[in-house]
């Protein structure tokens, strides 16, 4: 039957028309659906909330669209720029594109009078296709160039790292190489962070850094010394306010500076800092309980140990106690104290005070201490007064901070607001109080070696140190000294640490030929504290005031009436 239908034309026509209608309907439905979707999307896009779009665009601008191509800035603790990157323009030329050389030279010299006509003529007549005329041009000169309409000139934009304060904190900031990678100091330590465009805020205070540098430089010049280092640090959280190493350099000229100027004496250089180490000896003596507070030590005769004779710079002919050993800076007394507590105890405390290892400061230029750890009696004795132990001035500042900060370890940091877990306690609060009292006496007592450091009202305390310099060939030089002071202020509640070191000062007429720490370093401490204390918010405490309380122990100090032991 179907075969017959196939040949029936009417039936075929009817079927075809039916199929067409169905196809048309499907196509219509699909088209309507597509255009409904397109229409809906069009209307929704046209009537979208503008604010949403704006916010989205702004977010895009801030996060992705504008890459932070410039290296991050380095700021001081008051958000003052210490290092930044700016775009500079360099002037290049393609001599082949210049039509009128004489006219071009005339126009260029008008804008850049520093360019020489002969040199320009030679350069512009060259066969080369690219010649640099000036490495840097100012934005104003750039505008003048555009107005002059000189053909063949190429202006290239480059990033340049600049240090607006020149010498200020140069050793800490470090430098970058030609490709913008950090190669020294903070620039190196925080390179990846700075490369990402993030900023670094240091604990350094520009003003205090400048004052420390100026006063240290003055004294170095006065005593014709080779150099020095100066540190001011928060005694409680270790934030470093100033850290100076002299000689220094202009940070903008890092690549053309001699190596010896680049050397950081404050954190990299290790020195025997002499009697300043007696503070640690006394702290060990009190804290280890191996020595009675009232024990006395006979210092009337030089002490002979093995082949070495230990002398005092200011000999006394009677037995003295620990505070007197520190105030008179007796080597014999210090050696006898150390002999009593022994090598193991000494090394244990030196280790816990961080004097046997590299500091965790945030710069790569850090020195590793060198200490005689042969456990011989002689080594224990000499280490007790700072011989046979070479540390950086920063190590000494850190140990001083721990001693006066109720014995809680203070780790120096160059980063502002760096939070640290609870500090390890190295010495007891009781020992710390005794040490603070003795340190104050070194400055305030008439026999104290740091009398010249006394600044009325600021209750400075500390310890001086004068050590013979180690000769490069070995042994000690009788003619060259390292002089140092480490201390804190105000001693009734120490807030800041001050550590100064001067390398090889020469005796002067005004110092009666003396080149000891009492003559060379102590006066800087007085000037420095007087100038920086008001900036640091440390108010002078006048002893005449009814509210005055120094909270310190009163030790009686005996001595000869020959004047101060400077």
């Amino acid at each position: 039957m179907k075969i017959f239908d196939f040949f029936n034309l009417d039936v075929r026509k009817q079927n075809q028309s039916k199929f067409r209608k169905i196809k048309l309907l499907i196509c219509s439905v699909m088209l309507i659906m597509s255009f409904t979707i397109i229409g809906y999307r069009t209307i929704s896009l046209a009537s979208i909330n503008k604010n949403n779009v704006s916010n989205k665009v702004y977010a895009e601008i801030e996060n992705e669209s504008i890459p932070k191509s410039l290296r991050g800035n380095i700021y001081d603790r008051n958000n003052k720029i210490l290092a930044t990157t700016i775009n500079t323009l360099s002037l290049n030329v393609n001599p082949q594109e210049i039509l009128n050389i004489d006219q071009t030279i005339a126009k260029l010299i008008k804008i850049f009078p520093q360019l020489e006509e002969k040199v320009l003529y030679k350069k512009l007549n060259s066969n080369k296709k690219f010649i640099n005329l000036l490495k840097e041009i100012s934005p104003r000169e750039y505008v003048s160039l555009l107005n002059a309409g000189i053909e063949g000139l190429k202006i290239e934009t480059k990033n340049k790292r600049i240090y607006p304060n020149n010498t200020l904190a140069a050793h800490i900031l470090g430098a970058t190489d030609i490709d913008g990678n950090g190669i020294a100091g903070i620039e190196k330590k925080f390179d990846s962070q700075l490369q990402d465009g993030s900023n670094v805020t240091l604990s350094i205070h520009s003003g205090i850094q400048h004052i420390t540098r100026t006063l240290l430089l003055d004294q170095i010049k006065k005593f014709k010394a080779e150099g020095g280092a100066g540190i001011i640090m928060n005694a409680k959280n270790g934030e470093v306010f100033s850290i100076v190493s002299l000689p220094d350099y202009n940070a903008n000229n890092y690549n053309s500076i001699l190596n010896y100027k680049l050397f950081n004496k404050a954190t990299k250089g290790i020195y025997e800092l002499g009697s300043t180490l007696k503070l640690i000896t006394a702290a060990i003596a009190f804290d280890s309980n191996l020595i009675n507070e009232n024990d006395v030590f006979d210092v009337s005769k030089p002490l002979k140990v093995s082949s070495r004779i230990i002398n005092d710079f200011h000999p006394l002919n009677y037995a003295i106690n620990i505070p007197e050993v520190i105030v008179h800076s007796s080597n014999i007394g210090s050696a006898k104290i150390a002999e009593k507590f022994g090598s193991s105890t000494q090394l244990k405390y030196l280790k816990s005070l961080g004097l046997l290892s590299i500091l965790s400061l945030e710069i790569p230029e850090l020195g590793k201490p060198q200490v005689l750890i042969d456990k011989k009696v002689l080594s224990t004795m000499t280490i007790s007064y700072g011989h046979g132990i070479s540390i950086t001035p920063m190590h000494l500042a850190s140990a001083t901070a721990t001693i006066v900060n109720s014995g809680a370890k203070v780790n120096p940091t160059l980063i502002k607001g760096k939070t640290e877990k609870k500090n390890e306690v190295i010495i007891s609060n009781k020992t710390s109080l005794k040490m603070k009292s003795i340190m104050r006496l070194v400055v305030s007592n008439k026999y104290g070696t740091a009398k010249k450091a006394e600044a009325p009202g600021y209750l400075i305390g500390g310890k001086t140190g004068t050590a013979e310099k180690i000769k490069p060939s070995g042994g000690y030089s009788k003619k060259e000294n390292i002089v140092a002071f480490t201390g804190a202020f105000p001693m009734n509640d120490p807030e800041f640490i001050i550590t100064i070191m001067i390398d090889n000062p020469k005796g002067q007429k005004f110092s009666f030929g003396h080149r000891t720490a009492g003559w060379v370093v102590a006066p800087i401490v007085k000037k420095l504290v007087t100038r920086v204390a008001p900036i640091l918010g440390v108010n002078p405490q006048l002893e005449s005031s009814s509210k005055f309380s120094n909270n310190l122990l009163n030790y009686k100090i005996r001595g000869k009436n020959h004047g101060a032991n400077l």
Binding site: T36, L82, I211, T530, S545
Partner: protein
């Protein structure tokens, strides 16, 4: 019926086409504006950086110190120049008591 549907579809297509063209035109315009704004921001950021660096250079502590000493004739603050407010009050009361006597 088909005529009406066709007309409706035609107008919808026409409306969609015109709207799409306008949106494309609008987006292109906005993209150009955005690029300009980005360039302006970059340029402004660069200028701000230069100005900040220049300001920092002018505020160098050694320069400020020189100005303070030479032009303003300022001098260092001494401990005696700084008074604790409580001390000042007690000193004033002692002084006034003395005057009364």
């Amino acid at each position: 019926m088909i005529k009406y549907t066709s007309s409706l579809i035609f107008f919808v297509i026409l409306f969609a086409g015109v709207s799409l063209y306008q949106i494309k035109h609008f987006i292109t315009k906005k993209e150009i504006e955005l690029t300009q704004i980005k360039n302006n921001i970059k340029s402004a950021q660069s200028n701000i950086n230069i100005l900040k660096a220049e300001l920092s250079y002018l505020k160098r502590p050694d320069r400020i110190e020189k100005i303070a000493l030479d032009k303003l004739e300022l001098r260092e603050v001494l401990p005696t120049d700084i008074w604790n407010l409580n001390d000042l009050v007690s000193a004033t009361s002692t002084f006034s008591n003395g005057e009364k006597k």
